[in-house]
Amino acid sequence: MDLFLQTLVNGILIGGILICLTIGFQLTFGVLHVIDFAVGGWTMLGGYTAYWLVTLAGIDPFISIFLVFALFLLIGRGLGPLIYHVRTSRYARPDLMALAFTFGIFLFMRGGALWLWSYNSRSVESVLSGQFLSLGPVTIPLMRLSAFVMALLFSLGLFILLYRSRFGMAVRALAQNHDHAGLMGVDVKRVSAWVYGIYTALTASAGVLIATVYSVNPSVGIRYTLFAFFVAVLAGLGSVGGVLVAGLALGLLEAYVATYIGARYSLLIVFGTLYLTLLVAPKGVLGRGI
């Protein structure tokens, strides 16, 4: 029973990490209709930025996460018009071109990370690293708990932004129809660029937490890209709400399979479940986008 409860906690906390990773990715797909292959790259760069800030300036990740958010908001905002340009290109298959473009960005990030930080894994130390809370037989790692709380805050903040602000209304209008939103006076290019900025900021901030929970090296990017993609597909591409359900479901599934069936089969069963879910509900767990 103790192990069962511990597994429940482990699963929920893994779910929190998956939610952090995917929430921005969903937003950018919902609005820009771009499957951003660079999602793992932004996560990795967020982690490395936190690593630099803690080793060079002694800034704890819980403070640097705000700096990372602001920095990547600007970087994403700067890159947004390019993504928009590629995605709305008049040439053949702009959707695939956008995928290829973001893949190129990802390769550039990976190569840059190898050059700057070499191949070794880097740990990002925080005041909460290694700290835990004991509740009877269950141990709750505080760093993972804070990642889970952060995931909830990210989601809440995003919902407030989308449903309680004029900017959010413009974003939702864009998600529904770019042309109509433009005709109603929404500056499509500008809003799209900000959406990309918010996405990179959220994902890089998630990278800070992930690097603190695990570690960061140049090869982690592709792994996080895959995870983000699987959670997003299960959630329903573009569904921000679905990420909460899908992230928790995949986290719990991974933890219980690893504990009671065998860690070797965890990814097989997770992806098998994903496949079956999509056969039954192709639009994802909530059946709708933004």
């Binding site: 906390l13 190898l114 130390e125 290694g130 570690s215 991974e254 933890a255 965890s266």
Partner: protein, 419 residues
């Protein structure tokens, strides 16, 4: 006297001159080469494995520099300097094979020194076989490298299944009755899985109870695995993987309030990067090393293991690990085989085959330890002689703790702060 310009004479002289140069150049070239032994190094100088690749290069280069200080390799009383050529495998097997072919065809190397990773080694093996160029590998550790019984490839480091198996037995013998159970985990990928399987074999052979054996995909969240280990509470936890898994295991275990009595890992645990990233949490962690500077081995070129370490430190600014040492020792194997071969370079295909035979018959003592290649079985042409050293990290230092002849300190068991 007439100096009238004749176009016919000019053309004739030009053709004759060009012909003479074309025919004469190879002779000059051969003449220039014949007093040198041309060694090709195929390793990863760029890409994901460039760090390890450069370690191999350092090891090979150090040997070349030292032997050239003496005038080169001695064959039948004459000294032949060594000239090094490099091919970048770019951390990719296919590029490694291309680089090897280029070294053999364009640079006409007499012998190859092998790549950093087992994957690239497996890709280069058929090239060395095709051109009959002996290849001495100072790094590849996967047992798969030797399964195909490569006639021209020789490995200096015992395959990982041998080192982990033996090290677990050494550890169990040292702990005696204090340790009765063990659990083994490992990443489900070639090298790590073979490491874990070696540990499992060692557990079974040493009479410990194996509580669990678990493989997991690379990049898995380790919280479930750590929670399971915590509930099993084995005396020894053995982990097959690379540094990133060890770092994640140590941090996940700490966050879940779990510290086993003994943790043993393999590749990377002795690296400065691992110790730096895990900080004080690395204290007490055990590792396996084929070689350390404290071992009582020596040879004529490098002196003792400690002398070699000092030399490497003065040349490169860092202490060598066992990969660098094995790579430098590859040169000693070549030296010895060339001396026994007794034929001056350059070596044609037939002579290179004889050289491969001479390498196969190697039986020498070096600063790296004894070298002798298996002539049959699943570890064909792998140097199976070295006995692995169990090391323990103590306050950031890597201290050999077993077996007794290599020990420089007491094995701390259980690790202070054990759950």
């Amino acid at each position: 006297m007439s100096h009238k310009f004749s176009r016919r004479k000019f053309l004739r002289n030009s053709i004759l001159g060009t012909g003479a140069m074309t025919l004469g150049f190879p002779a000059l070239n051969v003449n220039a080469k014949e007093h040198k032994i041309r060694v090709g190094v195929v390793t990863s100088l760029s890409g994901a494995n460039r760090f390890g690749g450069n370690l191999t290069r350092r090891g090979y280069d150090l040997w070349a520099e030292e032997i050239n200080k003496l005038g080169g390799i001695e064959i039948e009383g004459e000294r032949y300097p060594v000239e090094m050529f490099y091919g970048d495998a770019q951390s990719r097997p296919a590029s490694g094979a291309d680089a090897a072919e280029r070294l053999i065809i364009q640079d006409e190397v007499d012998v190859l020194f092998g790549p950093y990773t087992s994957g690239v080694t497996l890709a280069v093996q058929p090239i060395s076989q095709k051109y009959r160029v002996p290849m001495i590998s100072g790094s590849a550790e996967s047992p798969n490298v030797w399964l195909a019984k490569p006639a021209f490839n020789f490995g200096m480091i015992p395959a990982v299944d041998l080192t982990t198996d033996k090290s677990m037995m050494v550890l169990a013998e040292n702990l005696g009755d204090r340790a009765k159970t063990a659990s083994v985990i490992g990443v489900d990928e070639p090298f790590s899985k073979e490491t874990a399987e070696g540990f499992r074999k060692g557990v079974e052979e040493s009479g410990l109870d194996l509580l669990s054996y678990e493989l997991f995909p690379a990049g898995s969240d380790l919280s479930a695995i750590v929670s399971k280990l915590k509930s099993e509470n084995p005396d020894i936890v053995a982990i097959g993987g690379h540094e990133d898994i060890f770092i994640n295991f140590v941090s996940t275990a700490k966050a879940l309030n779990y510290k086993p009595k003994a943790m043993i890992m393999h590749y990377g645990v002795t690296s400065a990067a691992f110790i730096k990233e895990t900080g004080t949490d690395s204290n007490g962690i055990l590792g396996v090393s084929v070689w350390t500077e404290g071992l009582p081995y020596k040879d004529e070129l490098f002196g003792t293991a400690s002398d070699y370490s000092d030399l490497s430190f003065s040349r490169w600014g860092t202490r060598p690990d066992y990969t660098e040492a094995a790579c430098s020792a590859s040169g000693l194997v070549l030296q010895d085989a060339a001396r026994r071969l007794g034929k001056a370079p350059p070596w044609d295909q037939g002579t290179r085959a004889e050289l491969a035979k001479a390498i196969e018959d190697t039986d020498i003592e070096t600063f790296y330890g004894p070298v002798g290649f298996a002539k049959e079985g699943n570890h064909f042409h792998n140097n199976t002689k070295p006995v692995p050293v169990v090391i323990q990290i103590k306050n950031g230092d890597v201290v050999p703790v077993a077996p007794e002849n290599a020990s420089k300190g007491e094995l701390v068991y259980p690790i202070p702060g054990t759950s």
